[in-house]
Amino acid sequence: MHVTTVLILLLQLSVILALSRLMGNLAMRLHQPRVVGEMLAGIMLGPSLLGLVSPDAYEFLFPQGSVRLLNVLAQVGVILFLFLIGLELDPKLIRDRGHAAVVISHASIVVPFVLGAALTLVLYPLVFNDAPQMRFTAVALFMGAAMSITAFPVLARILTERDLQKTKVGALAITCAAVDDVTAWCMLAFVVAIGRAEGLGPGLVTAGLAGVYVLVMFFAVRPLLKRIQAVRGADRQRAGGTLAVVLLLTLASAAATEYIGIHALFGAFLMGAIMPKDPSFVRPITERVEDLTVTFLLPVFFAYAGLRTQIGLLDTPLLWALTGLIILVACLGKFGGSAVAAWVCGFNWRESAAVGVLMNTRGLMELVILTIGLQIGVITDAVFAMMVLMALATTAMTTPVLHWVYPRRMFHTAAVDDATAEAEFGVVVPVARAESGPGLAKAVALLDGPKEKRVKLYGLHLVEPEAREYLGLPIAARQTADDVFGPMLREAALLDLPAESVTFRTRDLASDIARVARAKRADLILMGAHQSLLGQAALGGIVHRVLTGADTDVAILVDRALPDTPRILVPFQGSPHDRLALDLARRIGAKAGAGVTVMRVGNAARKASSDADGESDGVTQWIVEDSSPVDAVLRHAGRFDLAVIGVGEEWGLMSHLFGFRAERVAREWPGSLLVVRKHQPVAELHPPTRAGPDHAEQPVAVHA
């Protein structure tokens, strides 16, 4: 077997991608940005963990020399990423800033910059060398720039996930972060130029060339791009050619800045920033470049950075103390600077703190800056490790601290009060697709009751964040809330059904559906059936999680052309779920003027001990003798349009790992089906009883 360089590279890439996805998903589960998990994955693959735990595996996976190839891929990835960051930069954010935004954005740069530079006074004699690249001025400016960076993409993503982007705080934070980004990259170009310059003469040459380069970009390349946009902008068939030209220009711009001495990344960023921002022109380019960059190349960058991170170097209390000091100064500068400036500008303390917390997010951008610092020799390995830990800490603390200082506002409307909750039968209806809305609205309308307890529909559209983990703000928005709710709200209006809608982004659909129902004090969550990824369960996936996890009654509608006046069957064995099924069936029956048949299935003995067949208030009791309740229900399916059925083993609807086991009723029932689950508080799940678990013998209460 030949162990070639290519084979090693392929192996490295596979391991990197797998671990990166795994850790990214784990981070998201823990309500952290994906970038935190991916940064950790990189560190885990490096000498700090793999090299420590299994030096042989580390040596095999990352033999000396092979890391150069990873470096090349990582650099290309970061160049493309910076191009995308520039591309996403909205010039309006910078141009149309309010008075407060100007002050806060500048304070959020200046304060951490100065504190970072001042911190160098402590660090310089301890963890820097007397090397030509580590002159104090270059080190201090670099530390200042590294402290003042904000991860615009991570911040944007946190804002969209928490639905804060349109709030005063969110709009302010995103504006400030955009300004910080531009300023930080310009500062970095300046610092790199100083670090690389070998005297005043070469420094002036670099500055002069950089000036010429910027002029060329604005007055030659930008008009060229506008011309390309005008000629090819909307032509999808020539999108590939346009992309090639844009990439070529990006690489040329990056090469130019690298040659000048202000680093390739600045060229890529500026190229993106000067691109015309017409979505029809930008969107196809972003989508094509982003997929490869974010999914494939950035994890390689994280791994490369992780390979350079030697946390083992921090082996003395002094070095850990310095790490703590760096984190403290970083937070003090960024959080303190932004928050105080916001407070001075008239924000209340909560809003000011939220702005500060958001601006303190550093994420991937910090890692990019640090890698540059290490490459040009302006920081040592120990400082790199300490700063990586700072980047991790400040990014990881953002979401929990934000949650603490600025609790999540889930709704644009206030939670429902006692009086309202008493006066309405609230039904929360999660809607994923527009076409399922009218059917669900119709089902809700069937649950309508008397005037003093009318049903109210709370349409809920929860959007899972797209895979744009780094760029944050979605360019290509999918269905808007109006698109999704439109058909359902129109149907509700036709049915004279009170309705309101709520939309927000979430990472955890099931939990948030339950949370909304709780806040709205809803009586019922009504969902459409959902096919799970694993298996054929119609009640799997999100539906299963809501059914088993919500602390509200839940009903799942399998809509198979429900008529206006359905003949309703309630298979009944007496469980709490069956009783809820009966209650709902009676509501539907009363509203639609339809008959409800309660089918009890049992053996002869049970039949003898039970009530006789009969009818009361439009509810017909029907006792069927059969050894299999499921067979009995299905045998008489043709006589009914709707079955309202409680979850339970007797109906083949027991909760299982990936959904509800068997589900034969759900699959084979030809008409519409409403599967219901009664929420039972924990104390009620196992009530002390002498009669044993067989609740089937309890009498059926048939009330008007």
């Binding site: 190839l69 002050v103 006074l121 004699p125 003395t316 400036a341």
Partner: protein, 150 residues
Amino acid sequence: MKRPTVLYLSLFGAAGLVLWGVITVGNRLKPPRDLSGIWHVRGDTPDVESGEVVRIDQSGRFLSVALGKHPPMEFRWSDEEPNAAAGTYVVYLRNDNHVLTVNIRPVPEDPDVLEAAEFVLEGDHYQVWRAERRGPEAPLPIETKPEKKS
């Protein structure tokens, strides 16, 4: 003037002053001499094969020194004694078990060599290594041939 305007102007004024002060003071600070990099063992070193290297990773006062194929040893910067007249200097590195004395001198007669050093390790072991630091290392070529057969 409005309060934010005052804040804005005072912020920049104060920041400029502090930065100027930091850089002025900082330029007087002296970090530990840079020993990091690869030191090539000289032929006049007894009991050491030619081609061996001394590898030093340094983050200020914290150093990792690998003498040849021996595992790296962690040292802390202890002291430095320059001899301005001779252009030489002696650096003392310590850990719990060893003292590593590095006598460094310039090598003006060889333009390819930045400086030469004698590493004297005392403590649990005693060793003397003579090595020299050369100009910037050429980057290693990217391997394209099979590395191993198994």
